[in-house]
């Protein structure tokens, strides 16, 4: 071999090595930028945003996707994409068999697709979303038991080279780091959600314990108070009859012996008799209120003491609003709106009516001006019927929001409310497999929501 031939050979060798070095330079750039990205942005930014930017810079991909495969690799979902429309897109995978009859899908091997139109394995769902994509580079990434793939797409055919595939394959461990970061973020979010859920459950359990204790106490108190109250009430009525008899006798005596009037005047007997009636009436009123409280306590303790039937909620709402309107019309306009023709739930009409009356009364009591408005609406979403009671009252103070469903908690003046309305209402609604919640409250008013499942029948 001549000297010039040897030199040419050497130069060619150097060219080959130069190509390799260019490839390594590209890879080094990617790795360096990746580390800088990690160092600069830490864990605050979505990890794939930086990854996509780096790969776009080095490999000129028009679109990029990160794909997560399900455990048996029969379907995939898109974790993130440069095109936001693709995020969370899920689709099945078309599998084919290789020489060893192993099941292969498009994301199972490092692949350059020079023309996506020729590849039946390319998922139709992605093809529909990105019809302009002509060529692709796919690199599978495995982290433990989880399988992912990064997909680089170009709007031009034959964009990605075998060298680009080698670069991405070498870079895949870094991509795995991004995925681990994402996994960690996801796990952190999941953990926070679980902690929050645990806290809610614990609070709920405390609340349930509290409610159970109160229920037991209420049932016991109601039982113990009911008998003495019974004879107090009965005796007061009897006493009222006795006093009436005494008064009748006194007035009869006055007619037969008028001088008794003077004697009675000196003892202020007329006042005593009249006042006795007032006292008895006040006592009876107190006894009646006590009886109502006891009944409420019993209802709170045993909200299921009643029969269940198919209830026309629309009719129930109409009649309840009609009854409530007799009280609310003084300060507030009560409206009902709905976009459905029929609404049936399985439940107890009396109890449900009580719930609605409670909520309307609460709304009314929150209105401290003359332009009151209580808007009741009924809507249906799927198998759920939702009643909203919105008022333009004074709202509920933030510090009180967490307590409003607790028994005996009331913002009303002493004697005006028992503090059992909302807690009883919630117990009733939950007994109907529904839920009652405060949707929002502010100085402009409050909105309570009752959701009940549609009747199965």
């Amino acid at each position: 071999m001549s000297q010039s031939e040897k030199q040419q050979e050497l130069l060619l060798q150097l060219k080959v090595e130069n190509q390799q070095l260019l490839k390594f330079k590209q890879l080094n750039n990617l790795m360096r930028d990746t580390l800088e990205t990690f160092a600069a942005k830490g864990r605050k930014q979505s990890p794939f945003t930086s990854l996509f930017a780096l790969l776009h810079q080095e490999l000129q991909a028009d679109e990029q996707l990160i794909v997560a495969l399900n455990d048996d690799e029969t379907s995939f979902s898109i974790l993130d994409a440069t095109d936001a429309r693709l995020k969370n897109l899920a689709a099945p995978l078309l599998k084919t068999q290789n020489n060893t009859a192993a099941q292969l899908h498009i994301f199972s091997q490092s692949t350059v697709i020079f023309d996506l139109a020729l590849s039946p394995k390319w998922p139709a769902e992605v093809r529909d979303m990105l019809p302009q994509a002509c060529s692709a580079l796919i690199q599978p990434i495995r982290i433990g038991q989880h399988h992912y793939a990064i997909v680089l797409l170009s709007d031009q055919p034959k964009t990605f080279t075998i060298d680009a595939k080698t670069v991405v394959a070498s870079y895949s461990s870094f991509i795995a780091s991004f995925l681990s970061l994402f996994e960690n973020q996801r796990l952190e979010t999941e953990r926070d959600q679980l902690f929050a859920q645990q806290k809610r459950i614990e609070q709920s359990m405390v609340q349930q314990d509290k409610l159970a204790a109160i229920g037991q106490l209420a049932a016991g108190v109601a039982h113990e108070l009911n008998n003495p109250l019974g004879f107090i009430y009965s005796n007061l009525n009897t006493l009222k009859v006795y006093i009436q008899t005494v008064q009748d006798f006194v007035y009869s005596a006055y007619s037969t012996a008028p001088e008794l009037k003077d004697v009675a005047a000196t003892t202020n007997l007329s006042f005593l008799l009249e006042d006795s009636f007032a006292l008895i009436e006040e006592s009876l009123d107190g006894a009646r209120r006590s009886r109502d409280i006891i009944n409420n306590l019993r209802t709170f303790s045993h909200p299921d003491d009643t029969s269940v039937s198919k209830v026309d909620l629309l009719e129930l709402l109409t009649s309840t609003i009609r009854i409530a309107n007799t009280q609310t019309k003084r300060n507030a306009r009560l409206t009902l709106s709905t976009d459905i023709d029929s609404a049936f739930v399985d439940g107890n009409a009396t109890q449900l009516s009580q719930v609605l009356l409670n909520l309307i009364n609460n709304a009314y009591h929150a209105i401290n001006h003359k332009q009151g408005l209580i808007a009741v609406s009924l809507t249906q979403l799927g198998r759920w019927l939702t009643i909203k009671i919105a008022d333009n009252g004074c709202g509920i103070e933030t510090s009180m929001i967490t307590h409003i469903f607790e028994p005996f908690f009331t913002t009303k003046d002493v004697g005006k409310g028992t503090g059992l309305g909302l807690s009883i209402s919630r117990a009733i609604v939950e007994q109907h497999n529904g839920c009652l919640a405060l949707e929002q409250t502010s100085a402009a008013g409050s909105v309570f929501v009752v959701s009940l499942p549609v009747s199965d029948a």
């Binding site: 060619l12 080959v16 390799q20 350059v112 697709i113 996506l116 139109a117």
Partner: protein
Amino acid sequence: MMKVIRHCLDATDQACFCDQLVALEQPETACLSIAFGSVKAISELSRCHYATLLSARWVATSSCQDAFSDQAIEGNHHLAILQFVDPTGAYGVASRHSDNKTIVDDSKAALQEALLAANKPGELPTFIWCSPSPGLEEGLLTGIRELVGDDVPVFGGSSADNDVSGNWCMFDGQQLVHTGFIIAVLFPSVPISYYFSCGYEQTPLSAVVTSACERQLISLDNQPAADVYNAWRELKGQPSLPAGPVLAASTFSPLGRIVPQHDVNMALLSHPALIRADGSIDLFSQVHTGESITFMQGDTELLVQRAATVSGIARQQLSNLYDSKPQAAIVIFCAGCMLAIPEDIKRVQQGIRQKLENIPFIGGYTFGEQGRFADGINRHGNLMISAIIFGSVNESV
């Protein structure tokens, strides 16, 4: 784990040849078999139905005179086979009877068919192996380029016979093709390295093609091509060649098409086959108007050394680029070169064996060579030498 197995069978007797094929049957059918053999050996292979039991897909190409391998066997009719058993790879083969008018479209259609057979439609293969009949090479490469671009290395050798009488043939496992081609797409689980070079030296004598029609070189620097060529020969102390067949006489003095690669000019050889009475020269590869043509010179020692050097470079690249150990190799050696050094061809094979350090290899003497230089463009040339080495699995793949 991919295995590449080499066999070298004697095809002198058909019955005996079939028995040898049967004896090769293994538990796993090979994904692909690449083979070279004499025209008789390829014909016998096509007649033996055991061929398909041995391998699902074949690219068997007729070699001028006989195939060669690292196994030295007596006789004139051999079939040298490389079997690829690669459970995690993918391979596809397609063939076409074709001609100059349809070759580009046929090439694209066959490549798509091969990709489909490999279960990889639309996917870029790692390597393409081809076997065209003489005359269709450029069209075949154009079709491949139009479909997948130049990113995939394409190597192969044109089928040959012993006397350029057109008896060359190819077998794909299903049919025998005389005028057409076979194309194989490889998605192997191991790395592949390759080197494509000529065994000749450039001279300072050069001219620009001023008129050409496909493989007919009409004029150089506006002079009849034969006049310029013969003037160059005389300047180098070689006799002028009269009109008529010049294939053998021009073997050590071919023309080289200059392929600029950055600051290096590589020569893609074009072998003069016939000088016409009008002063034009028929070549074994296409030339284009505007191309620079140089006068090339070679000798026995250059050719003997060159095959070993090319094999050594390919082997070194496998180690440098992929840190992989070689399993097996294919060496393509131009039939024209072989015919020019009949006494020294054993030395060529020895040199290859030595450089490849006794790994199994097969080879054929072809009427045209396809491959690519470091510029990444796949080309067809004459009097060229190429070596393709299949590595072993490692983490760099």
